[in-house]
């Protein structure tokens, strides 16, 4: 059987890839996708812990995360469309007017 550490390493790698995407990519839709990758990295570690502890808690919480992720994707994409309509751009650096 594959040990827990392997799952956790994969999970960490996925999380790192996701956060790198959030910080480095210049497209809002890609950033949203990167956020989804980070959420799924966390889901993976939950499920892995659940499996190794012999409980269903990890799987239950994963369903919650997926629900939130679906809602977040819907709201996020709606915002992206609204932002694109105002600025004709998807570069996050174009939207910095919300400050002091």
């Amino acid at each position: 059987m594959i040990p827990l550490s392997h799952y956790l390493v994969v999970s960490a790698l996925l999380f790192a890839i996701g956060s790198a995407g959030v910080f480095l990519r210049k497209n809002l839709i890609t950033i949203l996708l990167s956020v989804e990758i980070m959420l799924n990295a966390v889901n993976l570690s939950f499920v892995a812990f659940g499996r190794f502890n012999g409980t269903v808690d990890g799987q239950i919480i994963t369903f919650f995360v997926m629900t939130v992720a679906a809602a977040e994707a819907a709201v996020g994409l709606a915002l992206v469309i609204a932002l694109f309509r105002t600025r004709e751009s998807l570069n996050p650096d174009a939207f910095t007017s919300l400050k002091w």
């Binding site: 959030v22 910080f23 996050p92 939207f95 910095t96």
Partner: protein, 680 residues
Amino acid sequence: MTSLIPFIPLLPFAGFVVNATMGKRLPKSVSGGLASLVMVLSFLISAYLVWQLAQLAPEQRVLSNTIYRWIASGEFTLDVTFLIDPLSAVMLLVITGIGSLIHIYSTAYMHDEVDSEFARYFSYLNLFAAFMLVLVLGSSFPVLFVGWEGVGLCSYLLIGFWFKKKSAADAGKKAFVVNRIGDYAFLIGMFALFAMFGTLEVRGIATKVAAMPVETGFGLLSIATLLLFIGATGKSAQIPLYVWLPDAMEGPTPVSALIHAATMVTAGVYMIGRNAVLFSHTPETLQIVAVVGAATALMAGTIGLVQNDIKRVLAYSTVSQLGLMFLAMGVGAFGAGIFHLYTHAFFKACLFLGSGAVIHALHGEQDIRNMGGLKKYLPVTYWTFVIGSLALAGVPLLAGFFSKDELLFETFAEGHQILWAVGALASLLTAVYMGRLVFLTFHGERRHDAPAAADAHGHAAHDAHGHGGHGHGAPHDAPPAMAMALIVLAIGSVLAGYIGVPAGLGGHNELGAWLAPSFAAPVEAGAVAEAGAARAEAAAEGEAEEHGADEIALERTLMGVSSAIAVGGLLVAWFIWIQRREIAAQMARSFAPLHKLLLNKYYVDEIYDATVVTPIQVVSREGLWRGVDVGVIDGAVNGVAALIDAGSMALRRLQTGSVRAYAGSLFIGVVLMLGYYLWR
């Protein structure tokens, strides 16, 4: 019987309360009538109590009533006690008696004011009387000080009564500030006495000080009494704090008569008399008192010689006479000083009220150069004014003669020949300027014509008096209420001196004998009989000694000199201002610098302005206002605000608006926190 004592000040105070709260709605006859009535009642109570006092043996003449315990702190207690002894008896009668007359006079004089102003005037006047009575009745320094400050306040209010006129408001302020300087010294003197004796009761201090030797040199006791005397110079208008009194003439004339001639300004003299035992133990201070008194008498007399405002002449005359009183106090002739205070109250009140009648008749004209020839229009005013002037000048057999003569005689007899000469010179000046005042005001040709000129003065209200019926040309004499007060005071000016006929004229100084117990240390109850007997013996001896042939000869000689001075001074005035009018102008020309110096009052106001007022203003403006207030206090407050502002300006740069920057800082924060928990 003693339970009546509190009512003496309480009645005028009640009058004040009524007039101050309801005066606006009362008609003039009620507010003025009430104010006068309470004064008359107060006078009657005082007279009754003084009569009771006179029934007692001389050593026991003290009536006191403790109202309540004011301060009780550990060992120290202080009661509010009102005390009538021979000295305060004299003051009581002067204040309530002359005060009543002036209240009655005022009902006519102030009649042109509107109801609310009229009531305001009488409420102040009543309040003044109440405080003045507290001053003379108080048996301890703090109670005396309450009255002392109270009369200062009322003086301020009354000088500035016509406060819409800037000069009146300024004069009130000046009086208040100058008095405050004296009060400050007085307060410190009081503290010094408390530190030395542990009590503030005047009689307690007198008992303790009587057991001490007379202070030689200038020690602590002398400093304390000197401080008290500085307080007295403020209240009683002596050098160097006399400058407020001439300006105080901006107030209504009856106020000048009551406060700035007859009562409040005598508070300093009274205070020294009240503490006679204390002052007797500090000869150095007494020397200063005498010299200051003589110098003030001379200086004010010379200024009075050239002033042109009828009230200012009288004001400088008051300063001069107060100087003579201090001279008497300073040479230890306390009885003579109080005697002059008492007679002076009559004729100076008479003169001020007379000048008020003149001003009233001329619709506010105060310049004697514009008067003249008023004798036939104002007979009552004229005759009472003449009697007052003669009494003030010291013409024989009038009140001023007896008191001034006694005062100068005592000065000479105590061995102060130079001070006597200064006092005699001041008396000569008195006779000359009073002669000038009478002759310029009432004699000669009439130089006053248009009543309309009055509009320029603050007295404009008098124009609304309805003079149409009288015809505008002829000034009318004093109305009955004013005439009554003038006549009573004129009679007083003639007769008041006869309670102190000197031995040189075959009399006996009743007033001096009456006052004597007040100037000696209080005697314990048990020792009264013994002391009384001893005193009677001593008095008998003293009498024989005092009225030795030499003494009487000296007294008669000096009496002759002062009579000659008085009559001579009046004759000089008559010659200059009636016989040869051109001499006056000629003298003013040939002594132009001197004349100018006197006319400008020795430039004392200007000197004070330059040396005291301006530096204080500059320091206050540049140092305290712009330096301390704006610089330090405002600087601290604004500095804190500026610091926060600058910090916020720096910190707001952190908020970039970039989503990724926020996400980055969030990420770094979480990593740091986790790292801390993992590796701690």
